[in-house]
Structure formats: C-alpha cells, structure tokens
Amino acid sequence: MDFKGKDIISIKDFSKKEINYILNYGKTMVPYAKGEKYTDILKGKVLSSLFFEPSTRTRLSFESAMNRLGGRIVGFADPTATSQKKGESLADTVRMADSYSDVIVVRHPHEGAARLAAEFADVPVLNAGDGAGRHPTQCLLDLFTILMEKKRIGKNKIVLLGDLKYGRTVHSLAYALSLYGTELTFVSPESLKMPKEVVQECRGFGVEPISTSNLEKAVKDADVLYVTRIQRERFPDAEEYNRVVGTYKVDVDLMKYVKKDLIVMHPLPRVTEIDPEVDKTPHALYFKQAFNGVPVRMALLSLVMGERL
C-alpha cells in the first residue's frame, strides 16, 4: 500500500483497509517509540511543526516521533512570534514551510485549515487539529489503543461521554468506529448532544447509536468508555459552559458498575471529568493512549515520506 506524498487531513479520506494497514505498521514502531530500538530512516529530513493553537500531546508526540525516526524539526508553538502577527496568511506561511522542509504538521483554529495548507504545499501535510473540525492522527491513535488493548476494534461496546457537540475527536472517532461496526452509546448533557450529521453517518454504516443521559446504565456492559473534556474555548458564552460543566464525573464509585476489563480513554487534557483516583485503577488507559500517539505518528511520518522500516 503506497502512502508516499499523501496528505493526512481527515479520517474520511481513508478506507478501512488503509486504516488497518497504518495501525498494523504502528505496532512495529512501538519498540522504537519506547527507545528500546533505534532507527534513523528519516535522517536528513526536516519536519515543519506549525502550531497556531496550543497543544501539549499532539505537538510533543509529533516531535518525539520525528526525532525517534532520526529527522529534525523546525517550527513554532506560538504564532504570536511569527509573521502571522503581521497579518501573513496561512497560505503564505505554508508556502514558506513547504520550501524549508520535507513534511508539514499543522494545527490551526479554523476548520478546513489543514485542507487549505495541503493545497499550497507540495510536501505532505498532516493535520494536527483544525478548530472544532478534524484531528485524524488522534482518531488513529484512539483506534490503535482499542486495537492493542482489545485485540480488535469491531464487536466492542463503546461509550462516548461528555462534549459530543464541540469535541473534535469524538466526531471522527464515531465515524471511524462505525466503519468497524462497533456498538456505540452517546452520553452527554442535552445541550452537548452528538450532531445529527454524525449520527446519520454512523447509520450509513449500519450502526444505530444509542443516545442517553444515564451514564451508570450505559457503562454497565461497555468495553470502552471514551471521556472528553467540556471545552470552555468552544463555547459561545460562559453561561452555557457553567451550566453543563461537571454534569458527569468518572470516579471510583462509577467503576463499581463496570466490567472488569473496561478501559477508560480520554484524549487529554482532562480537567475534572475523571477523578485522579481512577488513575490507580486498571481501567485507566489514558496515559498509555497518549503514549500511543508516538508510534502512530511515527508510522504516518514514515509512510507519507516513503521511508519504511
């Protein structure tokens, strides 16, 4: 399967077969991501890391992935220190990065920004999150985590909890999980329900998601509980945010209702939605999930640059 030169913009650009290929290739990257094995397949290659919005995990794991593959990184994590501040367009910034590097990673507050970046760059562009839109590498590492822990993606009962309206990871994830025919349950406050377009997409794959506000009932026979943060920055007004934050809390009491092998995932950062006490339970998978960003992003960088292990 050839990914050389391909942009990674939306999970919808990939078939199930292609996703499986990326995930399986990601498995081979794990010992390299842990530093147990060494490779320099991207030696002499330069990655432009263009982060117009704050990020911890995505930026660091992309940079770690490039370093683990022997490549180098240029870029910025704070656009106020760049010509963006002078009013330079994203298109022009991308044109520059295109001439300075072999691959571009971009995060931007506008939806569709990565697709636009790909229009102006000859080198591959990887979307590291565009506004409330897509975040395909997060989606792939979430699938990777489920695959590694459950040995399969389909035939799992998966509960998506929290901000299902504005949360960018859950839209792509619901789509991708539907490709695999997983049983989906959506739990959210009424005002943060999954958009109907996403529900319709799930139905298009023969999956009929259940929507409920009863978390205890939903997690009872679940295999995966995927929690998202209620994102203050996506709310049009503070009043609406204050009304819904804290509606659900995943704590050790809730864990009494669940199956022994339920895994709790979260794209992080978390605020109050998962009690730190849960970290000590075998259910907590979110830190391992964050690590999985490295092998998955290593796999993607290797594939799009056509330099394989």
Partner: protein, 150 residues
C-alpha cells in the same frame, strides 16, 4: 384560443420547470436585474402536467454554463431554453457538476474559506437531486443553499 400569460420572446433565455416558488431565488442567483438591463418576466405557480412550476424569461441574454450550474443548486429540474428569433435554438437540462467553486459561501463562520485566505469556496456535490453539497475544507453541509449563494 389559449391565452398566453407571458408573451413569447424573440431572443434570450427561458428557464422552465423551476421548482414552484423558487423563481425569485433563481433571479437572485443570476444577479438579475442588477447585472442586466434585459426585460425579465416571471411567472409563478404556473399549472403544468407535472404540477406547479415557475418560469423565468430573460430577453436578449443567453445564459452561460456557469450560470446554469448555479441554478441547478436550487432548481434541479429546470430546463434552459435558448431562444433565437422566436425559435428554441438550444434546450438542455441543468445538472450540477461534481464540484461547486466560488458560488456558495460556507455556512460555518469559522471555516477557513470564510477567512481572509486566498481561496474560493469549494463544495463537493454529495447528491444532485435534491442538491446536497459538502464544504471541501471543513466538511459542513449547508442546509439552506439558496441563502448561501455568493
């Protein structure tokens, strides 16, 4: 003798079979009358074999394909008749292309195509009849396409 509500035109374009009630939107899409000094006649809720329809007649102006595509967004069953010397010289159905570029504004205010970036709006046509389009950049589907015409 049959009474003609709108008299025939000598030269120009007759847009027939417009979804009843949409004639005014069609005129808006075409920028008529602002963009033209032609005489324009509009008939709405005209009875036909297939139910009610609207008709627009534009004198001394032949529509080009770009304009035809715009009409297909809100009147997918419309037919375009090019009239020369009172005769129908050309007749064709409107059909949405696979992509719509620079015609519809994305309904997502934070879509990159609504920012100051040097790109035209671009939509992938998901369904031709009824028309359903999806933003190439942010993937949002506008609900009221007619309201989003640039």
């Amino acid at each position: 003798m049959k009474e003609l509500k709108i008299p025939p035109i000598k030269d120009g374009t007759v847009i027939d079979h417009i979804t009843a009630g949409n004639a005014v939107k069609v005129l808006h899409i075409l920028g008529i009358p602002k963009s033209s000094s032609s005489i324009v006649s509009v008939a709405m809720n005209v009875r036909s074999r297939l139910g009610k329809k609207d008709i627009v007649k534009v004198e001394n102006r032949e529509l080009d394909p770009h304009e035809v595509n715009k009409i297909a967004l809100i009147a997918p069953k419309a037919t375009i008749n090019i009239i020369r010397d009172y005769e129908v010289a050309e007749k064709h159905n409107v059909e949405l292309p696979d992509e719509i570029v620079g015609i519809v504004r994305c309904s997502n205010p934070t879509c990159v195509s609504n920012s100051s970036e040097p790109v035209k709006s671009r939509f992938i046509v998901m369904s031709k009849d009824p028309p359903r389009i999806r933003c190439y950049f942010c993937e949002r589907e506008p609900e009221d396409i007619a309201e989003r015409i640039i």
